[in-house]
Subunit: 407 residues, 2 copies
Amino acid sequence: MNESNVKTMDVEYAIIGAGTSGLGAYSKISRKTDSVVMIQDGPYGTTCARVGCMPSKLLITAADYAHHLVTSDFFGVTASGRVDGQRVLERLRRERDERFVANNLRYVDKIPAHHKLEGRARFIGPGHLRVGESVEVKAEKFILACGSRPAVSDVFEPVMGRVLTSDTVFELKDLPRSIAVIGMGVIALELGQALHRLGVETTIYGRSGKINALTHPDMQQQALDILGTELDIYPSGQVVNTWEDAEGAWIEFEQSNGQRVTKVFDRVLVATGRVSNVDRLGMEHTDVEFTEAGKVIFDPQTMLCSDTPIFIAGDAAEYLPVWHEAFDEGRIAADNALNYPDPVPVDRRPPLMVFFTDPQIAIIGQSFRELQDQEIIIGDLPFTSLGMWFGTRSKDAFKSTWRRELA
Amino acid sequence: MNESNVKTMDVEYAIIGAGTSGLGAYSKISRKTDSVVMIQDGPYGTTCARVGCMPSKLLITAADYAHHLVTSDFFGVTASGRVDGQRVLERLRRERDERFVANNLRYVDKIPAHHKLEGRARFIGPGHLRVGESVEVKAEKFILACGSRPAVSDVFEPVMGRVLTSDTVFELKDLPRSIAVIGMGVIALELGQALHRLGVETTIYGRSGKINALTHPDMQQQALDILGTELDIYPSGQVVNTWEDAEGAWIEFEQSNGQRVTKVFDRVLVATGRVSNVDRLGMEHTDVEFTEAGKVIFDPQTMLCSDTPIFIAGDAAEYLPVWHEAFDEGRIAADNALNYPDPVPVDRRPPLMVFFTDPQIAIIGQSFRELQDQEIIIGDLPFTSLGMWFGTRSKDAFKSTWRRELA
């Protein structure tokens, strides 16, 4: 490439990523200065709208309707029906694109052209980015809002043609006949249960034997027991081998007791977590420090990274990967960038996370794991004692019992 | 009757009524003294469990399932089915009786026999009750927890054989073919919508043109508009004439614009509110004072009536006729009776009321009516702006818009 073709922009603020946190940061900074650029790699539209909360909820609603056909008789309403996988997915994409993504694109369209840049950004020196092949950006302050991507282990390499992640599952033209769901986090359980209810033969493979987001052992066990009455779950072990043949993708899973199970599937949904895209930014050219585990060190009250003029926000930070926190972090990062070098520390919200499974699981406030070394009282309120719940749920779910953990 | 057969009990505390508030009062008082009697007229089991919140929720759940058959196709799930009215009602009664009522009866069974008395109570002098025909109770302090009954106007006298109230509707062996629902309060709208969704030809007749529980005019109109797209509602006018013939019960309704509509129905559900049973207690033999409208004067922070040793609680008080308030009032009345004549004033909860219609309607905190003369700011958050709501609801309900009223 001819270096003389490289165009250089000089700005005060560079935001890497135009997702929920990047847009949140942009909206704050652009009110104060024109000297800002937001750099997007790939199509616009946030993780939440394109591949996250929104399409998963659209799928779950269809799955609820399919499930109603099964549970309806108990209530005196005889029902029968059929899931049309193509229509389920078409409606999902239509609503996703016409509402959530379109809303987002309308907002992005209104941003002045000189504030937007498209291409992959990476640091080539402190305060100095290369974007794509032909643009360089020099900026005083940076906000890393570059999001995350699904982690896919190398063990799935032989069946990669049949591997889906949350980035690709919603693009299917029709529902598969069968699917292996790898993981027991929120994405795995929400999508696994929804696909099962939509008639896909679904097997869920965990690793640790626990739903890790629930940190209390009793709750982990209860949730697994309840979901296990409906779903085919191997909670503990690891995928040791995969191969593909005419029948599909074979998954050989070694359970923690040493027993191996081998099954064949149309598709494999890998939902074993997401990793920050920060590793693609050339961070070795900055002064940002990392933990031994390779995570960016930053202050969650300011989003400042290691006393550099670099801030991090949203899923890229791998701190609280939920929409409202990404939104907050973008704005916290922006406020602190605008005020740099004086910090503007912000008290973070009480943690809140919801699994839109059935039954739903919510984790609110500090977890048992965080509190267990302190003197705490544990309150226990079984849903089965709540009249309104009896009134509206079928008998199948009556055994649900959850704990509230009180500090 | 031979007066010499009358047995007289002397106790410190007499509780009239063994519903939610009466039992709440009893549980507090019986911990402090053995000198208490609770008098129940009719079968045990609370309004909530027998004819109120619980059976209505059980009906609404069945109605939801029937409605899913209609809305399912939008989500890509083709559904068909049939409502079996007998089974809907059998399951409702079975769950109601086996769970809610049975729970209540188990609790009542554990109460010592000498604390219970059955029969209708009425004052025959200050501090002096007659119960049924053969028992008299002399007590120092009284708690009036005698509940309420549905109000039925005389205009329905000619069709009384086809009139239902919330006390009787759940005893139907099968769903009627058609029903007139009189009223636009929570009972009328919840049951009217549920019956409609279960396939009963339903017409709702209001009076004032408004859903009065919603005090802001915009919200009243919006709620009516939304419910009116699904339900056949004459919001404003009055029933002027009724008669019965072989076809059923005829309802002649004069709308507020003067036009009359006459229709015939299998059944007429009168849900125009409830009236306190206090009028049956012989209150003229006490010093309790009444408003001009005939309501007992009492202090909601102590439930004390006009400086007498008489307290009132629950639906009998006609103050906040919802379960949790009845429960609170029973306990507030008990604490104040135990401490009489020294008052133990209690701050009441923020008001909370929910209509389990679709969409649901919640009224939380002070109403617009209470606040409108003060300087207030009105916040307005349309549900249509909330992504999660788009995700899970069919298009039919997208127009829902509610206001939050902020003090």
